[in-house]
């Protein structure tokens, strides 16, 4: 995996003016949760112009579905405007596009629960707040999600304690 691949993916999306919110493990990492994650999970705006910008970014990233990679299946508009989760592999690593998360929450609905975060000069992205990440993990209730909850909750407590 090339150096700085997580940042590279986020930078490319940002430079192409894709509207998205970073969620999942990397969002937790950026907010101080000491966990490891190997992919970038985002919820994108399904507005038509944004979907085009996202598709263009995916083409630059050589993105294909992780399932049956030998067939090199590429996502299209119908995938990006649906409701599902799109698990991709790109030349910079794994990228999961989530049309909605939790109980069908969209990009627009998640915006109030996100914050802008600077990652480097000229690179700022929106990240889902820890409180909402915890709420969503609690709702999901899978073993994997429940396993992460103690770390998320204790980090939030420590953050609030300052």
């Amino acid at each position: 995996m090339p150096e700085g691949s997580l940042r590279g993916t986020l930078r490319l999306l940002s430079e192409n003016h894709v509207d998205f919110i970073l969620v999942g493990g990397l969002a937790a990492v950026l907010q101080g949760v000491p966990v490891s994650t190997y992919d970038v999970d985002i919820v994108h705006s399904r507005e038509a112009a944004n979907v085009q910008r996202l598709l263009s970014s995916l083409a630059t990233l050589d993105a294909i579905f992780r399932i049956q990679p030998s067939r090199r299946l590429k996502p299209d508009v119908s995938h990006l405007t649906g409701h599902g989760h799109i698990n991709l592999i790109t030349r910079l690593g794994s990228l999961d596009l989530l049309c909605t998360i939790g109980d069908g929450l969209t990009y627009e609905q998640l915006l109030p629960y996100s914050e802008r975060m600077d990652l480097e000069e000229g690179l700022a992205i929106r990240v889902l707040r820890l409180e909402k990440l915890i709420e969503l993990k609690e709702q999901l209730g899978s073993e994997k999600d429940r396993a992460m909850l103690p770390l998320l909750r204790r980090t939030l407590e420590e953050k609030r304690r300052g």
Binding site: S5, L6, R7, L30, S36, T37, L119, E120, L151, T155
Partner: protein, 54 residues
Amino acid sequence: MAVPASIPLTDYSPDGVDLTLIRWFLSLTPAQRLEFHERQMEDILAIRKLNARG
């Protein structure tokens, strides 16, 4: 310098989370967290790749 006996060497929450690790990670900026995480990830992947060779 020896650590005074009065200073606790660990701090775990009742559900077993290492709070010292959280506090250290919180002391970094988001950019530093990302940089650390990327470096760590690259190291792990390099070790995995090395050990995957026949």
